[in-house]
Each structure stands twice: as structure tokens, then as C-alpha cells.
């Protein structure tokens, strides 16, 4: 890959990162906190591409025709054997992000990974009131398993997550937790009982209203605890702004 192609590739890579960082696209892959770094990296790559072109232009005018440019000739010379074809692989992430933009991890990973529920540090008091209480999947699961649902009894709860079916078709409401990027994403699962919609398609986002039930099961993958939720209503909702839960263990 020659210098010009490399410069073009750097520019494309930088533009792709900027594109991902300025839209919500990056949230499918990395945590929100990485956004400034992603944007900065994109800007640096574009600036490098621009600087390379600029220095080349400046180095060549005196010798535009016979290529006797003293300043850049050694570097060119060197490029030939130092720039291996492995650089071509950098087109893959560019194409993957621009053409395919794969979705956030969903039911496939959830059904292949055990629930990652860990004991929370504590259980802050929940706001009182009659309206259904909004809880995160991991918050409900943590309170149900490690606090025996003490603060949850007798309250209507509203939980949002996506549907995942395990091998024998048992439905779970899942949210993937994220620490850094999707490679370390892990699911927390809630099993559903009660008034479940008759047809559940994996990866559908649902807002489920229900109540606490002491019933529990074990994750077939890693024997982790999975609490049940007694469903009263469930309605499909669009994918949230950030598909991952980034709060559950930070």
C-alpha cells in the first residue's frame, strides 16, 4: 500500500470514527464515556492525512517532474519495505461501520452468556408513590435476589429490556451491561411469568409492567440466579438511546 493509499485510508478511518462519534452509532459498541476519545482520534487521523498531503505538496513543487525531491525521497524509499500489506485490513472496520453498522449485542449473545448478576453494594431507598416504579433490569434482579425483594413487594414496577429465548423457549427480559466496549458486555436476565404476550420475538424491546415474585430459577449457562417477574402488561418500545446499561457495576 503506497503513501497516497495510506493517507486516503487514514482519512477514511478518521471520518468513520467522527461519523460514529457524532451520531449515536458509537453507543452500539462502546461506553458513552469514550465519546471524546473517539472524536479526538478521528480528528487526529484526519489531521494526519491532511498534514501528509500538505508536506508532500510542499516538498515536491521544486522538482515536480523528475522526482528529485530530497526531502521526501528517503521516506518514500523507506515506505516501500516498511509498509506491509497488513494495512489493507484497516479497510474492514471502515466497511463494517459504514456499510453494515452491526446492531448492538442482542439475544444471540444473551442466550450464550450466563447472567452476570453480582451483589450490589447496597440498596438505596426507592421513591415512594402510587405510579409504577421504573427500575433497571439489573436493579430489579439485584434487589429480588440479594434483598429478597423487600422494597419491591406490593408495588407496580416498570422495566425495559429486550426479549431473549433460551434453548427450550423460556423467555427472559435482558439488558446487557457494559464496562468499556461490547467485547466485555454481559447480560443480566429476568425470567417472565404471568401475562406474557403470546408471541415473543427475540430482540424485541419491551416495557414490562409487573410485580415482584419470590420465584427464582437458575441460568442454564452458568447457574447464576435469575429472578422472576409477574407480568401484568407488556408493550413494545423502540430501542433506547443507549442500548447498554452502563451503571450496573460502576
Amino acid at each position: 500500500m503506497n503513501r497516497l493509499a495510506q493517507t486516503a485510508l487514514l482519512f477514511l478511518l478518521g471520518a468513520t470514527l467522527l461519523h460514529a462519534g457524532t451520531t449515536d452509532l458509537y453507543l452500539r459498541y462502546v461506553k458513552e464515556g469514550l465519546r471524546p476519545l473517539v472524536l479526538l482520534a478521528g480528528a487526529v487521523l484526519i489531521a494526519t492525512a491532511a498534514a501528509t498531503l500538505w508536506y508532500d505538496r510542499r516538498a515536491t513543487p521544486a522538482s515536480a517532474h523528475d522526482g528529485a525531491s530530497r526531502a521526501s525521497a528517503p521516506a518514500h524509499d523507506h515506505d516501500h519495505h516498511r509498509e506491509p500489506r497488513v494495512s489493507w485490513l484497516l479497510t474492514l472496520p471502515v466497511l463494517a461501520l459504514i456499510l453494515v453498522a452491526p446492531p448492538a449485542l442482542g439475544s444471540y449473545s444473551a442466550s450464550h452468556t450466563g447472567t452476570a448478576l453480582t451483589k450490589p453494594f447496597g440498596f438505596p431507598a426507592l421513591p415512594a408513590g402510587d405510579t409504577p416504579l421504573r427500575l433497571a433490569v439489573a436493579d430489579y434482579a439485584g434487589r429480588a435476589v440479594y434483598d429478597d425483594g423487600r422494597a419491591l413487594r406490593g408495588r407496580a414496577l416498570k422495566i425495559t429490556g429486550f426479549v431473549s429465548l433460551d434453548r427450550d423457549g423460556t423467555p427472559y427480559l435482558v439488558r446487557m451491561g457494559l464496562n468499556c466496549c461490547a467485547a466485555d458486555a454481559q447480560p443480566v436476565k429476568i425470567a417472565l411469568s404471568g401475562d406474557i404476550p403470546p408471541v415473543l420475538r427475540p430482540d424485541t424491546w419491551l416495557e414490562v409492567t409487573g410485580t415482584y415474585t419470590p420465584r427464582r430459577t437458575k441460568d442454564p449457562v452458568n447457574n447464576g440466579p435469575i429472578p422472576y417477574l409477574e407480568v401484568t402488561t407488556a408493550r413494545p418500545v423502540p430501542t433506547p438511546h443507549d442500548p447498554y446499561d452502563e451503571t450496573w457495576n460502576t
Binding site: M1, N2, L4, A5, Q6, T7, A8, L9, L10, L13, L17, Y26, R28, Y29, V30, L37, V38, L40, A41, A49, T52, L53, Y55, D56, T60, G67, A71, P74, H76, D77, D79, H80, H81, R82, P84, R85, V86, S87, W88, L89, L90, T91, P93, A96, L97, V100, P102, P103, L105, G106, S109, H112, T118, C180, C181, A182, A183, D184, V221, N249
Partner: protein, 369 residues
């Protein structure tokens, strides 16, 4: 612009190419993806300047053609990638790239700054003369590079090129991703009930890094390291040299990062998690299994503590091994080390690091945890 670049290079290129093509590291990194092989007709062009010119034109042209073709056939491409396994594979692949690229860029900027603005004499003054003493100093200096392992490889490469003794640069390479404040804080947050985990991770990682440095000093041979041949940026202005160094390192190390990301995505998407549970009960086996898992998963060192914390069925010692091995050697790092220092180096260095890291963390775990 293209023709101008072509002309400047056409006259001087051929000799260099034919001489050094066999040791081109792209050669070995190009096994199965076909892309490089199929798209690089310059491989067997001879010394004929006319053909050389064609090659340079082609490289940029091919990139354009490749992108246009991909855009034209985007529907079939998307269709063939619709299976859940492929989707999940691509998500993890893109995620590793998006997450690692900023840190790679950070490391590359730092390495370019070292290469261009820091004179070699600085390191000669900053580090103790004797290599055996320089190793722990460099290892401890790893604590100030706030990044993950992708940043440390180009920086270590720049250090070697600036005349730092390889033993010290390697100690830095191994310790930097594991003992910096960000990673240690993440560890403390992930293991709220076991603060000794932070101490164990710090101690074991620094120990392994120094031990590997000393081992290299005793047994290492310079000819295993790829000679630090590198564009001497002397003839150019500082700005041009800086831009060239960044461009070179990003396209070079970035390519290897892609290989590592693909390997990690494959393992994450394909390997079922169930078989992990089988090994958890056995004290020795569990340590080995988590060590291997750390290598295969290639998780960023800033996030691995959270993954380790969730592997609750394993002992603390086994999880410490996961945390010590992961930042020092994994698939992504191996590919990048092979790219920066040469394959002969990586093939010797990686297994030794792995073995030493497992032994040291098992011992540390037995004493501290």
C-alpha cells in the same frame, strides 16, 4: 497528485523493494483473508521501473475500486451477514476496533513525539546505565502511561528505536497496561470486597514485567528483535517527520489490531460459556483456564477487572491470573508485537511471558489472597 507521488518514487523504489520483500511482515500477516494477496499485483513485479510505476498507481486505485465495489454490492454483503452469529461477530469486532483505536492513536502520538522531539541522550540520562537497574525503573515508569495495552506497543517500539536497552523497554511494555492508575482504580471498583486484589495485581504485574526484562537481558539475543530499521526522519522538518511517524504507525499497528480484533470476536461469538463452569472447581485447572481465557478474549485492560469480577465461580487466585496475564499477552497484543518487533521475537517472548505470568500470579494469589 497521484502522478506526482508516483514519479517521485519511481526512480528510487525498485532496489529497496526487491531486496527487502522477503522480510516484509505483511507476508506473514496475510494468511487467510485473501484481500492482500488478491489485490496487490505489485508482489511479483520485477525491477522494471515502468511496472513499479504501475504498482504505485494501483495501490491507491485499488483502494478506490475496493470501496466502490463494496458500496455497489452492499445489499448482498449485508444479506450474507444477517445470521445472528455473524451479527454478533461483527458487533464485537467493530467494538474492539472503536474502543482500541483511540488508545492506539494516543500511543502512536506519544511514540511519534518520542521519535521526533525527544533526543536519544535524554533516555541515556534518565535511565540507570546498567540494564539490570534500568529494568525496574522502566517497569515502574509504566505507571504513568494512562492507557490500555494498545498504547504501550508503539511507545515501547519507539523507546527501542531511541536507543533504550530492549530489556527496559520490554519491562515498560508489560507493566504499563497493568499498573497505571486508571486500571488499578477500575480493579478496586470491580472488587469492592477485596481491596487486596489491587495490591496483588500491582505487585504481580510489576514483578512479571521486571522478571521478563531481566530474563531478556540475560538470555535475549538482539537478532530476535527485528532491527529497528526505520525511516530516519533527519532530512525532514519536524512536522513532516511527526506526520510520517503517525501515518506509518497507525496503518501498521492498526492492521495488526484488526487481526487481533477478528480473533477476539471469533472467540467471543463462537466459544460457548458453559464449559467454563466445568473447570471452576479444580484449583490448578481453574488458574490455567482463566489464563488461557485472558489470552483468547483480548479484553482491554481497563475493562478486564469487571469481567473477572463476574466470573464468580472461580477462585480469587484464578481471577488474579486473568488480570495479570490479560494485559501482558493476548491475541491482539501478540499480533501487534509481531508487527512491531518481528515474529521471531513474538514467538519467544509471548510463551515466556505467559508461563511467568501464570506462575507469579498463582504464587502471589496463594500468599496475598
Amino acid at each position: 497528485m497521484p502522478s506526482r507521488t508516483t514519479r517521485t518514487t519511481g526512480g528510487t523504489g525498485p532496489v529497496a523493494i526487491t531486496k527487502t520483500a522477503p522480510q516484509d511482515s505483511g507476508e506473514r500477516a496475510d494468511p487467510g483473508w485473501g484481500r492482500g494477496r488478491g489485490t496487490d499485483p505489485g508482489r511479483d513485479t520485477g525491477t522494471d521501473p515502468a511496472k513499479e510505476e504501475g504498482r504505485h498507481l494501483n495501490s491507491a486505485l485499488l483502494l478506490t475500486l475496493l470501496l466502490l465495489t463494496a458500496v455497489m454490492f452492499q445489499d448482498p454483503i449485508r444479506g450474507s451477514l444477517a445470521a445472528p452469529v455473524m451479527q454478533s461477530w461483527m458487533t464485537v469486532f467493530v467494538a474492539v476496533m472503536v474502543q482500541a483505536l483511540p488508545f492506539l492513536v494516543l500511543g502512536v502520538l506519544l511514540s511519534a513525539a518520542i521519535a521526533v522531539f525527544v533526543p536519544p541522550s535524554f533516555f541515556a540520562r534518565a535511565l540507570p546505565k546498567h540494564p539490570a537497574l534500568a529494568v525496574p525503573v522502566a517497569g515502574a515508569a509504566g505507571a504513568v502511561l494512562p492507557g490500555c495495552e494498545c498504547a504501550s506497543v508503539p511507545v515501547a517500539g519507539a523507546l527501542v528505536r531511541r536507543g533504550v536497552t530492549p530489556a527496559a523497554a520490554l519491562a515498560f511494555l508489560l507493566s504499563a497496561p497493568a499498573i497505571n492508575p486508571i486500571v488499578l482504580t477500575a480493579t478496586a471498583v470491580a472488587f469492592p470486597g477485596n481491596p487486596e486484589m489491587v495490591l496483588a495485581r500491582f505487585g504481580a504485574s510489576l514483578l512479571v514485567a521486571c522478571a521478563m526484562g531481566w530474563l531478556w537481558h540475560r538470555l535475549g539475543r538482539t537478532d530476535w528483535l527485528r532491527p529497528p530499521a526505520r525511516a530516519s526522519y533527519e532530512g525532514q522538518g519536524k512536522g513532516a517527520a511527526f506526520a510520517n511517524s503517525v501515518r506509518h504507525d497507525v496503518t501498521h499497528a492498526g492492521g495488526y489490531l484488526v487481526i487481533g480484533a477478528m480473533a477476539a470476536a471469533t472467540l467471543k461469538a463462537v466459544v460457548p460459556a458453559d464449559w467454563l463452569g466445568l473447570a471452576a472447581g479444580h484449583p490448578v485447572l481453574s488458574v490455567l483456564v482463566l489464563a488461557v481465557l485472558a489470552v483468547l478474549l483480548s479484553i482491554c485492560s481497563e475493562a478486564d477487572a469487571f469481567v473477572a469480577a463476574s466470573l464468580t465461580q472461580f477462585s480469587l487466585t484464578a481471577r488474579l491470573t486473568f488480570l495479570v496475564v490479560g494485559p501482558m499477552i493476548d491475541l491482539k497484543l501478540f499480533a501487534m508485537q509481531a508487527g512491531t518487533f518481528g515474529r521471531a521475537f513474538a514467538l519467544r517472548f509471548a510463551p515466556a511471558t505467559f508461563a511467568l505470568a501464570v506462575v507469579v500470579s498463582a504464587l502471589t494469589g496463594t500468599v496475598l489472597l
